[in-house]
Amino acid sequence: MTSADDQRPGIRPRATLARRLDLAARHAFPASITILLMLLTEAPFGIVDQTSLLPAVALASVWFWSLYRPAAMSPPVVFAIGLLLDLLDWLPIGTGVLALLIVHGIALRSRRTLGRHGFALVWLAFAVVAAGAATLEWAATAVLTWRLVPPGAMLFQAVLSAALYPALAILFARAHRSIANPERA
């Protein structure tokens, strides 16, 4: 990842070990915060319907970082996060992976158009994408376990994802500009 930075012209500080570690930490921030938040949602807080937080956090995080820092949220990283989602959420293996990869793909495609607009439109787009992802997970679960799962959980997950996004986006945007910004290393 640092090799890409080295291609650019300009003067920069010497690549000491501390600086390289700093850069690596900034690059690894999006994936690490996603995984940490996902593990936290499983901690025994005793919140009712706490399990629905897990896919909501994963979706919001993958969407945000794929839009604003695709270099740090690459497809293999999304794949790993999806696998973690499947394992933690006891979903049929592969469904979370597929849903998150599709969300990632949509975010990459719409980067140029969405980047020009404000937060409201990004949020709206996320609400639609999250609803689609929840539907996809629900359908895949129904097909893979071959039984009709009640759709209530899917609706709740979609609504919760959309509702949770602004709070997470504020947190991520702050980090994006400060501690996760490789330019400020």
């Binding site: 025994p44 807080f45 006891w90 990632h104």
Partner: protein
């Protein structure tokens, strides 16, 4: 690192996403073909996480208790008065229960009743929700030499919680009675009629297949039935409640949404479902 030309690298970068999407379909097929592998991966992961969650559980529990205490201070007087009346009533019931217990023992002694073997049990802390969005289950943190086996029965202080479906080295997963895959033979205490309690993923499981002519009555107590040999008889399950659409449901006696500590009982039952197949079967339609 291998040095590639820029177009080659760009082409490779474009290919990653489609290849990984294909790989996710491959994972689905793999998970379908070898369900044991997926379950093993999950329980290995749960084993790794259970001690961490167990450590977190104590301070988080204190925090929650603190909040509940502060909230409780507001209506201390009302709660006190309510508890006093309830305590008096319970004392009356206690004397009734003691008298009945003595009578029961005397009658059993006269009949030369073969006593039920006393079950062994272990107590474990619930550390995480292991259900996800489409299942109802909890994860228990247990010691390294716990001796918990699949198919054993979990109870909290009030009633039936569920059954153990996966066992790891430091964790065990209990499928709750509200899960979509849960089918439990029950007996309606009032009429003695047998029925099946079917989980719906909602908070209250449904009653099905009761005999013609003895429908469950509102408020009737529901206990487990020993028919299939997977449960001992007469464990408290809950009370019957009819919805507005006149569907018979069971209000579980156990506090399933606030489980903290459960006891896992070994009744030494294998039943018609061997422990290896005791996990939810996808083709069990209600």
């Amino acid at each position: 690192m291998i040095h590639l030309s820029i177009p080659a690298r760009q082409a490779l970068a474009k290919l990653t996403l489609p290849v990984l999407v294909a790989a996710s379909f491959g994972l689905m097929l793999l998970g379908k073909a070898d369900a044991v592998l997926a379950d093993r991966a999950r329980i290995a992961f749960a084993d790794a996480m259970a001690p961490i969650y167990a450590v977190l559980a104590a301070p988080l529990g204190n925090l929650r208790a603190g909040i509940a205490n502060t909230a409780g201070l507001w209506d201390l007087r009302a709660t006190n008065a309510h508890l006093r009346t309830q305590n008096e009533e319970l004392r009356r019931w206690q004397s009734v229960a003691l008298a009945l217990d003595a009578e029961n023992r005397r009658l059993k002694a006269e009949l030369h009743w073969i006593p039920d073997p006393a079950p062994t049990y272990v107590t474990a802390r619930v550390v995480a929700d292991a259900g996800g969005v489409y299942a109802k289950a909890v994860l228990l943190s247990v010691g390294p030499h716990h001796g918990i086996k699949r198919g054993e029965i979990a109870l909290d202080a009030r009633g039936l919680v569920g059954r153990v479906t996966e066992v790891g080295a430091r964790s065990a997963r209990v499928l709750l009675i509200t899960d979509l895959n849960s089918r439990i033979p029950v007996v309606l205490e009032g009429s003695g009629a047998h029925a099946i309690m079917v989980g719906t993923n909602g908070p209250w499981p449904r009653l099905l297949y009761w005999p013609e002519g003895s429908p469950p009555r509102e408020g009737e107590h529901v206990v487990t039935g020993a028919e299939t040999g997977t449960f001992p008889a007469n464990l408290p399950v809950g009370t019957v409640h009819y919805t507005s659409a006149h569907v018979a449901e069971v209000e579980p006696a156990a506090l399933l949404d606030r489980l903290e500590i459960v006891r896992i009982f070994d009744y030494g039952l294998n039943g018609i479902v061997p422990p290896e197949a005791a996990k939810p079967l996808p083709d069990w339609h209600g």
